[in-house]
């Protein structure tokens, strides 16, 4: 099986879906001849032409709204927001419109829309090219929120997103676009939206993460295994909404201790939901306080390198948090 990068997996998914379904099209800023600022759509303009790979005006709200309208007309738009930080002007269209359309029309109108956006820091992007925005949208019934961590999942989940009948937000760890590699079969397969994946099994505690943090947690788990003999289960959540309560609860019950990690700022982050699920459904299995470890509670990731690194969770910091929880 060929080994490819995260962004290759994303591109393959779009390429194959474009070939499979003439209703699929791509729009966003610089997605055409430029192939996207991260090259996610590289080669697609040459292959599918200007009628299907459409450079949008520089206006994110309209990228999403055009996608909604086209989805209402039964096309399958894949909208790229160049950086997740720029999605906020489209918040109204996503939250008030796309998320509510099926409910507010009693199921008459549906919005089969995929919105892709690179998220996350650690690449010198400063306040406005580093944000994690998943918690805003994971709060909204009617949306689905997906964050893949491997090329295999990226390809399979993006195909599922494009084929889904609902609006799906698909956030991609830009820091991992080229650094994350993995085996991906050529040709068609899907990974279902919903189920989390257990990446590693260990009896001492369960670590929950998604996106690039799932990799950092795996690295941290190896560190504490070698250095301290602590064995972690690592759960890659993959889909944030709908919530895979069952996997969260079952994996917790086997260890009785939990660490939840995300790069997004800590307070009101996705970790709070995971902690609440454990508290509600597995209270009697709890052997230690649930610990959350996230990005610093500051407005966004600073540009200056030491400040950026102080913000970012990394395997060493996560390993420290694991040791604390394990020692309780």
């Amino acid at each position: 099986m060929p080994e490819i990068t995260l962004i290759d997996g994303i591109r393959e998914a779009m390429d194959e879906e474009l070939a499979r379904d003439p209703r699929v099209f791509i729009t966003g800023e610089d997605v055409g001849v430029r192939g996207g600022v991260f090259r996610a759509t590289q080669g697609l303009f040459e292959k599918y032409g200007a009628a299907r790979i459409i450079d949008s005006p520089l206006a994110e709200l309209s990228i999403v709204a055009i996608g909604i309208g086209a989805a209402l007309a039964d096309l399958r738009p894949v909208c790229e927001i160049q950086f997740a930080d720029f999605i906020h002007p489209a918040f109204n269209q996503i939250v008030n419109e796309a998320a509510k359309m099926h409910y507010r029309s009693d199921g008459q109108w549906r919005v089969p829309l995929t919105i892709r956006a690179p998220y996350g820091g650690g690449v010198g992007g400063g306040l406005y090219h580093s944000q994690s925005v998943e918690a805003f949208f994971a709060h909204v019934p009617g949306l689905k929120v997906v964050i893949p961590s491997t090329p295999y999942d990226a390809k399979g989940l993006l195909k599922s997103a494009i084929r889904d009948q609902n609006p799906v937000l698909f956030f991609e760890a830009k820091k991992g676009y080229r650094s994350i590699k993995g085996e991906v079969p050529a040709g068609d397969y899907t990974v279902p939206i919903g189920p989390a994946a257990v990446r590693r099994e260990g009896g001492d505690l369960t670590v929950y993460a998604y996106g690039i943090m799932a990799h950092y947690c795996m690295q941290a788990a190896e560190l504490v295994s070698q250095q301290n003999g602590i064995e972690c289960t690592v759960v890659d959540l993959r889909t944030l909404l709908p919530v895979d309560r069952e996997t969260i609860v079952q994996t917790f019950k086997r260890t009785g201790k939990a660490l939840i990690v995300h790069e997004d700022t800590l307070t009101m982050g996705y970790g709070a939901e995971v902690a609440a699920v454990i508290g509600e459904d597995a209270f009697e299995y709890m052997d230690a306080p649930i610990r959350r470890y996230g990005g610093a509670d500051v407005p966004a990731v600073p540009f200056s390198h030491p400040l950026q690194e102080a913000f970012m969770p990394n395997p060493e910091k996560i390993a420290d948090a694991i040791r604390e929880v394990a020692a309780y």
Partner: protein, 350 residues
């Protein structure tokens, strides 16, 4: 006020409307007005919680409806479009059930406030309450039409398929960025798109000169590469002609049109509004004298297409239809609580 489209020349498309069609147009205006009046009465009686009215806009809306392929072309309306959606095929009974929020409500299953129109079967898209959100979505619908033409997924000559997207809003809503972004796409991509601005001079209480520094919304159209037309919104045939022109342009693939219909809301913004605080009674009365239904009545009577006996028949039919609709809605059950949880997500495509 300038009407760029003449109604009395032989070239006007409205000149070829048959007497039956003209009477249909009259009926559409009348039934919308009477339904609207009943809603106000029901609110005063304490039977319904809320009404938002389109009274005074009937000429604009019915003129527009008759100029497109009703029930086939996409329509993304706003909350004042009662006459528009009734002319397309929503029924007084549908609307009455909305007012009462009863089970099986046609647009949303009783989830939405009344006048948030939507009916998939007639390609009327469900709308929300924040204004102008529908404009870039309607551009997206128009984009999809053009996409299907360009990718050979549909035939531009096939009138059984949508060939344009029409969206409506008030002049105040053109202050929104969403309006700008939608108009910009419509211009850049030369979309089969019509934006019908129903300029009634007020956004609730705020007059037009505090919304924009230009006198006419239509003046903004050229900046988007979109054709702008201004028309007397209380003259149904003038609106029909302007809209017909815009629709034919869209069907031909010649691009988008902004139609600004100058009209007036002769009642408060909604049942929660008191318009005495922001406009004089004299002003309102002066517009009531320009009532679009009365105006059309005069035109049709003069042409010998309508007489008093026929009007009496229409009035009786309207009363009977609305009485029946009200009885149906009042006696219908409320939705069961279980419907709270339904239709959050769409099921997979079969």
């Amino acid at each position: 006020m300038t009407s760029l489209v003449a109604t009395e020349t032989t070239a006007a498309p409205s000149a070829s409307l048959s007497p039956d069609t003209l009477r249909d147009m009259y009926w559409s205006m009348l039934i919308a007005r009477r339904v609207d009046e009943r809603a106000w009465a029901l609110h005063r009686q304490g039977k319904i919680a809320f009404h938002i009215s389109g009274m005074g806009h009937e000429g604009t809306q019915v003129g527009a409806a008759f100029a497109i392929n009703r029930g086939v072309d996409y329509v993304h309306p706003y909350y004042r479009d009662l006459a528009l959606v009734l002319a397309i095929g929503v029924t007084p009974r549908d609307f009455m059930v909305s007012l009462f929020g009863k089970q099986g409500e046609y647009s949303s299953g009783g989830r939405q406030m009344p006048s948030h129109f939507g009916l998939k079967r007639l390609n009327i898209v469900s709308g929300s309450s924040p204004v102008a959100t529908q404009v870039p979505q309607a551009a997206g619908l128009a984009f999809a039409i053009k996409y299907r033409w360009e990718n050979k997924l549909s035939d531009p000559a096939d009138a059984t398929q949508p060939r344009l997207a029409l969206t409506c809003l008030g002049e105040g809503s053109t202050s929104q960025g969403e309006w700008h972004e939608g108009m910009n796409w419509a211009g850049v991509h030369k979309l089969p798109f019509i934006c019908l601005v129903q300029n009634n001079e007020y956004a609730i209480s705020v007059p037009m000169d505090q919304q924009m520094a230009v006198h006419d919304v239509a003046d903004r159209a050229p900046a988007y590469g979109v054709r702008g037309i201004m028309v007397d919104g209380n003259d149904i045939l003038a609106v029909y002609d302007a809209m017909h022109d815009a629709a034919q342009r869209a069907y031909r693939g010649d691009g988008a049109t902004l139609v600004e219909a100058k009209t007036y809301r002769v009642v408060p913004h909604s049942s929660d509004d008191d318009d005495r605080s922001y406009r004089s009674r004299e002003e309102v009365e002066s517009w009531k004298r320009k009532d679009p239904i009365h105006h059309f009545q005069e035109v049709l009577t003069e042409r010998g297409i309508l007489d008093q006996a026929q009007m009496d028949v229409y009035e009786a039919r309207a009363r009977q239809t609305i009485d029946e609709a009200q009885r149906f809605a009042e006696s219908a059950p409320y939705p069961p609580e279980s419907e709270l949880f339904g239709k959050v997500y769409a099921e997979p495509e079969s």
